[in-house]
Each structure stands twice: as C-alpha cells, then as structure tokens.
Subunit: 353 residues, 2 copies
DNA sequence: ATGAAAGCGCTAACAA
DNA sequence: TTGTTAGCGCTTTCAT
C-alpha cells in the first residue's frame, strides 16, 4: 500500500518509447496498416466487424490489439456526422432521483454502443441554454431532458434546434416523454391518508415549474376533495428537493396549523425533513402524525417512510430506447409508468381525541 | 400547458430551410466565409478572440451569430489534438458525496473553458478499465479519478497510459491527489466520543478498498486507543454507502454488543441507518446512544447528526486546478484538506448506570 | 475482398 | 491582418 514498491509512481506523465511493435506517437489506422502491409481502409473495414472475417482481418485485429490501438472518436465523428454520444440534462445530480435516472440512462446507452454526457442545469434557463449549446458543439446524436419546465420556452427552443430529443421524469407540451403517472401517484397518497381517517392534512408541494411536483400535489388534493376533504391554503407549502426545505416548510405549517394529523410531501427528502420537524415539535411520525413521501429513494426504506414508488431506472432506460427510436426516425409515443403505494411505519390513523 | 397552441411540437425532427442567410445544411466556417467574402481561416481567427478586433472581425462574428454557427468540437479536436474535455470517474453518482464532487468539478472545468464527462464505475475494476478506455477514445485531455482503490492495479494502469490525471477523494500510491485528511477526521470523531465519556464504542467502517473509509476508521480507533479505550472486533462492521447497510451493520453489532453507548460511522448514510436501527432497538440517538457520522451531507443537518465535515466542493475545484497544472506540465503537490467536527444533537454522554 | 482517393470542419504553418 | 495550403484520423465511395 506504500509507494516504495512502486518507484515510478511519482514521475510526471511523459512520452517514452514502449515495448513491442510500437515505436513512437499515437497508434492510428495507418500505423496498423504499415505493420500489416495493407491499406488503411482495409484496416478500417477489418476492425469494424469485431469478429469473424478471413485470415487478413484476423491478423489486422491482432496487430491492433498488440499496439493498443484506440480509435479516434473525433475523427470518426467528423467523417460520419455521428458522435455516438447522447446528452443528458438534469436538474442536478445531487438530487438522488436524477442520479438514479442518469445511472439507468448511462447503462442503457452503453449497451447500445453510445456514450452519455450529463450536464447539471440547476433548473436555470440560462444554464439550460448554455449546456444544450455545448452539447450541440459536441455534436451529440440526441438529447434526453430530465429538467423540462412546464413553461414551454425551453423545450420549444430545443425543438427548434432540430436535434432528436425526448423528455424524462417531467413532461411538457406534447413532446415525447417517459414519465410517471404523477397525478395518479398523488391520488394514491391522498386516498391512503383519507382511508386512514385523516381530514386535516398538510401538503409539501415541491417545485412549481416541475410537472412531477404539481401533478402529485394536484392528484392528492383532488382525491381528498372527492372524499369531501378540503386542504386549506395555509396547510400547503412549496419546497425544494432536500430535507432542509421540507423541515422548514413543515415548521411553518405547524406554526399556523398545529391541528394537522397527516402530511403528504411530493418527494421523500421533503418528507424526511417533515419527519424531523415533527419530532422537534414533539410529535412522533407514525404514531401522532402520518407522513407520506414520494419516489421511494433508497433512504426511505431505512427510515420506514410510507411513500409512492416511482420506477426511476425503468424510466431512464425506456427514455433511452425512445430517443433511439426518434434518432432512427421511428414513430414514438409518450409513456406514463404506474406508481405504487408502499405502506411503511410512518402511516398511522389520526390520534383519537 | 396543453399543446394545442403549439401545433408543430409533435412533428418529427426534419431538415428544413430556415430564415435569414441560411439556405441549407449545417453552418460551417466556409458558410460564414462565403457570406462575409473572406477566407475560412480568417473566420476562424476572428471567432477565436470573441471580443475586440477590427471591423471585419466584428462583421464576421455578427454573421456567425445570425446563422447560428456552432463550432464542430470534433473537427477542432482532430486538428488540435486537444478535446477540451476532461473525464471524471466516480464510484457512483447516487452517492451524494460523489455527486457534490462532480458538481464542483463540472463548474470549475466550465469556468476554465473545458467540458466534463462523467462515468460511473461502481468500484468495479472491469468497469473502471472499460470507462477509461472510452474516455481515451474521446481523447479527453485529462482524467480525474474519484474511485481509486488502495490496491494500485487500477491507478498504475492509468499511469501507464500516459494521460494526465489526478486523484480526488481517495488517494493511492503517491499519485497527485486532493483528499481530506481522513485520518485526522477519524481522530476528531474518536476524541469527541472519548471526551463525552464513552468507552464502549461501535464502528461502521465503510468500504475496505477506499482510503477514505479505512483511514477514518483507523483515525478513530487510534485516538481511542491513546486514551486507553479499545474497540473490540465484534463492535466493528464494514458497510456500504447507503442507509440500509448502516442499519444492518448496526443491528448485527447490537445483537452481539447490546452494551455499546456510542457509534462512529465513516459516512453519514451509514450513520443515518444506525440511527434507525437504534430507534428500532428502543434507544434514542442523542439521549441513550451517541452517533457520529462523516461528510456532513445535506440531510445531516436536518437529521441533527453530529458529523465530521469534509469540504467536498473545495476538493473538487482544487482537483480540477491540479489537473490543469498536470496538463500544462507544471509541478504539482498533493493536498490534504482539513476536516471539521460539527457537533449536533446526536452527541450525548453515555447514560448514567 | 482490397486499394486509391476524396473529404468531413477545423487550425496552424507559411507566404504575401 | 489576410490568404494559401496542408493535414489531423477516419470512413466511404469507386474502381480494381
């Protein structure tokens, strides 16, 4: 583990001759062609189909491997007009939901022989534009936007660029998208709380520009209304995506409405923040107050949080395949996946008076 | 929000003539040169220095903007042998620490006129190699590895590639790195628990191949030993990076050692998992049992978790600058940043017998 | 099946 | 300052 057995480790990177065939400089098709005594174009063809072929092809591939040949993506891209890369724009990767989405997208994209390039836009329109421009400069073959706003300025602009793209996680307009049925998810949460017998319910509503947030809240509110339960405006707060905003929002609601017996947060981190604020206020979630979150992020199970599960990995890979269809000019149709209610220990009936 | 006011939104991407100068096909330097009546190389030069210049340069930039010119990064890269991209390899982005690091790296890299490309390797050697190879195919100008293993196979191999690289978050061998002084951080945690009066302490030790995990645990153990406090092997568990592994590890320790009065976890999510396991075991963290985590991730404050703060954003941007130094052939020296103990509500003395 | 030749868009000599 | 020329490494006609 000490570096003393590795005396070269501190040396700065420097060009130096290597063993084997290699003499100097980078290995290109021409290098291989010279070694093999054939034309570069023959090497190109032999390397294209990675298996099979005749005697010559096999020899060429052997030499290429021996020399440590690495195809130059830039050169290929320049020639073919395809970069083999797709751009992914997310709100921000410190939001674990976006990170899960990206991991799924990356994996699917790799399976299909592409590479994924991700950019954080922080939901800021200037940053969205800047990052899309950079993606275009890299000549990505398509774009997956996880950061669409319900306001169409952004997505309409991307559409005008005439680059293939799909939306994921949030929908906007009727551009092709893969999303959860967030409205239904909100309904599941609202119905669950109503079934438990609650009637004084608080809502932590998330980001106003995100279809995911607004539809979850709307679904919950409508499901409650159908049961004759009204959620007053002073029991609703908009929040961000982390526990601190959820905690603060919950505190404000508790100040105004100490009588509430249940909370629905449109994402799990806000729900965890609410759990903390409730404990600070002397109430035990799952005993005195019911809490329902949304997403079923990894920490939710450990926290025993009732939540609405969203199949983020499935969404990511479905969006990737949909993008490939758009790239290939096939017809695509937006998908809405189904949410699932996961009941855990933070569910409880209202305390008996 | 409905698409009826946006009848074009559903149409598949298709080449179509646009307004203004543009006639057909993509806009290249030649297109602009023809419009301006100059040679393409003149356009290239005029566009390079984005401000100032004479009359001609100004006119050229105007035309470029009007035509919506987007430089082709692949073509420039092919010519200059520099891609303007740096590769970032992380354990996985769903680990919020890695996501924070990447956000900082991305931002710094953008300020310096580069673009960042990130890859999840899941700490798997095969994946590490595969993703580095893909980075090389993209001809990245340098690599930032956040997923180094203490076993040197991986980093030695990267070194043999003769591409500039630095390590961040974990160090290995004596390759240039920006890390926290994890050992000292562990000592802070251990000393804190000893100061509170604890002597029966459990440790959740993280990933064995990560210098960050092992040194944090070692620092804690050594600080305790110096005070005459031994941590028995049956009070130690290795864990992953999320709350569920922390919860399980804590449960196993509680089964064997119900007498422990304090826990140190080498990362906050394991600590949160421990908090949950303790509550399930009928003990209140911060009252019956002290819990100390590590990293000070965003949720830690909301959870009132005592922890050791690591300046991840600073680490990310320092590593980026260090990489630039390596790329430019300047001498660099590894950095170790200082941890800071953040005392919150999960700190408490042992219960009086 | 292989070779020859051209060219993707850009930049960096060099020349004027 | 501007134009000329050449070429980065690759793919893809076309001809053999």
């Amino acid at each position: 583990m000490d570096a003393s057995d590795n005396p070269d480790s501190a040396k700065p990177p420097a060009r130096s001759p290597r063993a084997g065939y290699r003499t100097t400089g980078p290995v290109t098709l021409r290098t291989i062609a010279e070694q093999a005594g054939v034309h570069p174009s023959t090497v190109s063809r032999a390397l294209k189909r990675s298996a099979g072929g005749d005697e010559t092809a096999r020899r060429i591939r052997e030499i290429a491997a021996e020399l440590g040949y690495r195809p130059d993506a830039a050169a290929a891209s320049l020639r073919t007009r395809r970069s083999g890369a797709v751009g992914v724009l997310v709100h921000r990767l410190t939001d674990v939901v976006q990170a899960i989405l990206f991991e799924a997208i990356e994996q699917t994209v790799l399976e299909l022989g592409y590479q994924a390039i991700v950019a954080n836009t922080y939901d800021d329109p200037d940053e969205q534009q800047r990052r899309v421009e950079l993606m275009l400069a890299r000549r990505v073959d398509g774009l997956i936007l996880a950061d669409a706003h319900t306001d169409l300025t952004y997505v309409d602009w991307v559409d005008s660029l005439e680059i293939p793209f799909v939306l994921v996680n949030r929908h906007a307009g009727d551009y092709p998208s893969v999303t959860l049925d967030d409205y239904l998810g909100g309904r599941l949460a609202g119905s669950h709380l109503a079934d438990l017998g609650h009637s004084r319910i608080a809502v932590l509503g998330g980001l106003p520009h995100s279809s995911a947030s607004t539809e979850r809240a709307a679904g919950c509110l409508n499901a409650l209304r159908e049961r004759g339960i009204e959620v007053d405006d002073d029991a609703v707060e908009t929040t961000g995506l982390d526990a601190s905003t959820g905690r603060e929002g919950m505190r404000r609601i508790l100040d105004r409405r100490p009588d509430i017996t249940a909370v629905f947060a449109v994402n799990d981190f806000d729900a965890l923040g609410a759990v903390i604020a409730l404990r600070e206020g002397g109430r035990e979630p799952g005993a005195d107050v019911a809490v329902v979150g949304f997403n079923d992020v990894p920490v939710a199970e450990a926290a025993q949080l009732t939540t609405v599960r969203s199949p983020h990995a499935t969404m990511g890979s479905a969006a990737t395949r949909m993008l490939m269809d758009v790239i290939d000019g096939r017809h695509v149709q937006s998908m809405r996946l189904s949410p699932e209610l996961i009941v855990r220990a933070t569910s409880c009936p209202p305390p008996s008076p």
